[in-house]
Subunit: 368 residues, 3 copies
């Protein structure tokens, strides 16, 4: 991945926001190449009823290894779960272990399937890292599975191997973090694809997917003096999503409302404050063009609310437009090029205001 | 793994022991789910005479990553060794690299085979993490191997792929720690299964295994001011074990005597002090019950002595009774539920006295 | 790996160099066994044109985990790249990701192929860890590939799967380190094997390989006060190499000249200072002796210049003679025994002078 800043506030006096993204640490004044994800997956059916999934990532940095400098490239667990299927058709499953939290369509979709470079701030702020440790139940009616299977055969970008309905209990403190209170996070999600063929020949094969998710959690952000906060903060959210799969023109939108921990600069304390945001994305599928299946896209996103994963849960104020295209130019290689106009508040409660910038961002992705 | 504390001293004023276990960091006031072990094994015969074994674990935390908080899920090496067989029957082998130390029957037995949730404090205190870097020689006479093979076919829980006789030289500072003195740890172990068929029809098929182990080591505990102690502490131990394999009724017992580093609260210094402890475990094998092979068990353990792996080698005072049952309810899934009545001194030399508690502990284990 | 110091300055008063090596941290007063490399490789052709390579190492320590003591055995990424072949014969390839930097013949040669225990200080000082993140282009003419293939069939120790010509762009801050300036490192290398058959029957089958490499970089060393230096230091190098493959007698030599960051003890600051050094190695291939293919060798090395990977880029002053032999005594096992007479300045700018020592070093290497 290589980011070039055309023009923007990459440096700033102390107290002012610099142009940074919580999703991509290589947006900074130094630039250079970065390895975003280096993941290995181990997956297998153990019996007819049991399936294992193990994923680790070699893109993790470990801090303070020499002269307070980090070292990169350490291996860390992402997923480690076992699925127990309760029926022969595998429509109902219990998932035990560390896995993705069913909260927000975009969070469940794998990054290799997602067209834009990063997830949106608003949807991802609920579960940075997307995973937690707990127990989930998923259910997918067979005829819903058939619609998804048909879309997958068409090369559509689905949200992955999750259920139409999911409910879960998790530690709630975030991916690979130590649990810090004795309450569990409760999450529920539903998503339903409607085949629009009945609306007339114009809609033949078109699918509209609608759904929503909700979460109840108690969270303790890390604080600047070390450790986590001494008290729990309520973090409750609901979200909605709608996807018209691009055949050839598609719309995808999600929005979330709620409250959660957020640093209040007036009182210099973490408070429970409202949050709101989401995105609208338009995609056009050019189909097989002879040089690959190119998909141009545009996305607008907005977020106002806390970023709980950062120290002191700073407030984010994000407005961003991204225009790009995804080009799988060889079998296992995919190039994404995007222009982004960002207005972002840095995820640091000691810096104020929004930084602006224009970026050209490129990503080469290989998978196997 | 999920621990529920029914009633106990999970919090305490400074200077008093809290209810904690050196084996399970999720016994605390916050609770929540925990991933105990996430291990990958790579094993293979390279030639007729050489076998490789590599195991790593994704259940390792790295400290002080943000706001002095740890991050979990890092990958760390457990075993990395090569076995060189010196004869065609593979009864004699040399093992080079990082591997389990032959000291205490329970330490060699794999956790997936062990029925109770954790190893006992006394036996495990010699080699926390159970592994070290060095050279070991193992010898197993063919007729001993035949007895063990027969027991394994019966579904008995053996101690694994180790020899009837083992001697080894190791760094002696503990699993994945830097060697800190120029002396090596010397270890020897012997274990012998006696087929009791000759004692009459009552004992047909019954096997009694007897043995012992010994260790000579010089150890430098980590100290609270940083780094390791400037001087070596002698750590010498002998242990005995006896196992009557459950057909259907079994007894398993180990005991250890010795001396090692231990923090003395009177003089506020680490001294060489005596240690003693062990366990007695009763098991009943219900056999195939239709819903799985259920094995109820009870274990009593006691330990008085230092815990060298913790900072300043604090003294442990452990008395514990655990009653539970292991239920492999599906092919690759095993549930263990246990009630434990613990009296434990916290592994922190700044806290005194024993904490008491009653716990219900559950563990779901999957393997492949 | 086990190092025994026969006689030498393993300890020293503060301010004096102790006998240490930047390549082998187990050369110290404590000794003991060490695991030098525990590596796993995942490699595969994805399509006819694309090949993936992923290597991680479980010999990495993470610092300050308890009482400021490190823990060892963590998994860290070494290589993660994808090769895109631009022609059917695979003579031209583009390599994207983290991979070895084509700079110095010995740096590209894999450690399992190298006969001496460690790389030389001079050649390795350009790219400690040998890898960086970037883009490289390699080209190997088919008839050069045929010469190398013939040598490989003979069991010669080649430099590996790299091109006769390589040019690359990298972050330039070192393996698994965060990029700290916005300039890229530029590297180029050429190597050419000459078949000497034309020189007469004495030279039948003999191959002489000649080449050179060059690098332009801006580097920021880590400083003792934390973080990296605020300014860039120029680091420009050229090197030459010559290899007569041992059939049965071989010579291998490399030398490098340039300048780079180096701590100046007079002004107590990092400066741009000249560097120079290299090695000459003689090898004799005894061929199949009945007990394995034994290769005795001798190597003399010298280096005067900065070691940029260490804090404050201290000056090294290395003079070393190593005499040893490599003995692959079983199929996948190889023993290397060497005597070394070292004069080394410790890689710590606070210590002065050279330490001397005589060592017997042994290494058991297994591979699969």
């Amino acid at each position: 991945r290589y980011n070039g800043v055309l023009d923007g506030d990459v440096t700033a006096p102390a107290g002012q926001s610099r142009l940074r993204s919580v999703h991509d640490s290589s947006i900074n004044a130094d630039g250079g190449f970065s390895l975003r994800r280096v993941r290995l997956v181990l997956q297998g059916d153990v019996t007819d009823n049991i399936e294992l999934y193990l994923q680790h990532d070699f893109g993790t940095a470990v801090n303070s290894q020499s002269s307070a400098e980090p070292r990169q490239g350490f291996g860390q667990l992402r997923d480690a779960y076992v699925d127990v299927f309760l029926d022969r058709e595998r429509s109902f499953r219990l998932r035990f272990g560390q896995s993705k939290v069913p909260l927000g369509w975009e969070n469940l979709q794998s990054s290799s399937n997602r067209i834009p470079l990063d997830r949106s701030d608003a949807i991802n702020s609920a579960v940075p890292g997307e995973r937690d440790l707990g127990v989930t139940a998923y259910y997918t009616p067979p005829h819903v599975q058939r619609i998804w299977d048909r879309l997958a055969e068409d090369g559509q970008k689905l949200f992955g191997n999750y259920g139409a309905f999911g409910v879960g209990l998790y530690n709630g403190q975030g991916t690979n973090r130590v649990e810090r209170n004795d309450s569990l996070m409760k999450v529920a999600m539903a998503t339903w694809p409607f085949a629009l063929d009945g609306l007339g020949p114009l809609f033949r094969g078109q699918v509209l997917e609608l759904g929503g998710s909700a979460m109840l959690n108690r969270f303790r952000p890390e604080v600047r003096t070390g450790g986590v906060s001494a008290v729990d903060y309520r973090e409750d959210r609901i979200g909605l999503h709608a996807i018209l799969y691009p055949q050839p023109f598609g719309i995808q939108a999600e929005w979330v409302w709620g409250q959660g921990p957020q640093f209040d600069t007036a009182t210099q304390r973490i408070t429970e404050a409202p949050l709101e945001g989401g995105y609208v994305q338009l995609t056009y599928d050019l189909g097989e063009t002879g040089i690959g299946r190119i998909r141009p896209y545009g996305r607008w996103q907005r977020y106002r609310g806390g970023w709980k994963a950062a120290t002191n849960a700073p407030r984010l104020e994000t407005d961003e437009i991204e225009l790009g295209l995804e080009w799988p130019f060889m079998d296992a290689l995919e190039l994404t090029v995007a222009y982004a106009r960002m207005k972002r508040r840095e995820a640091d409660e000691r810096r104020l205001g929004q930084a602006e910038g224009d970026l050209i961002r490129t990503q080469l992705q290989w998978s196997y």
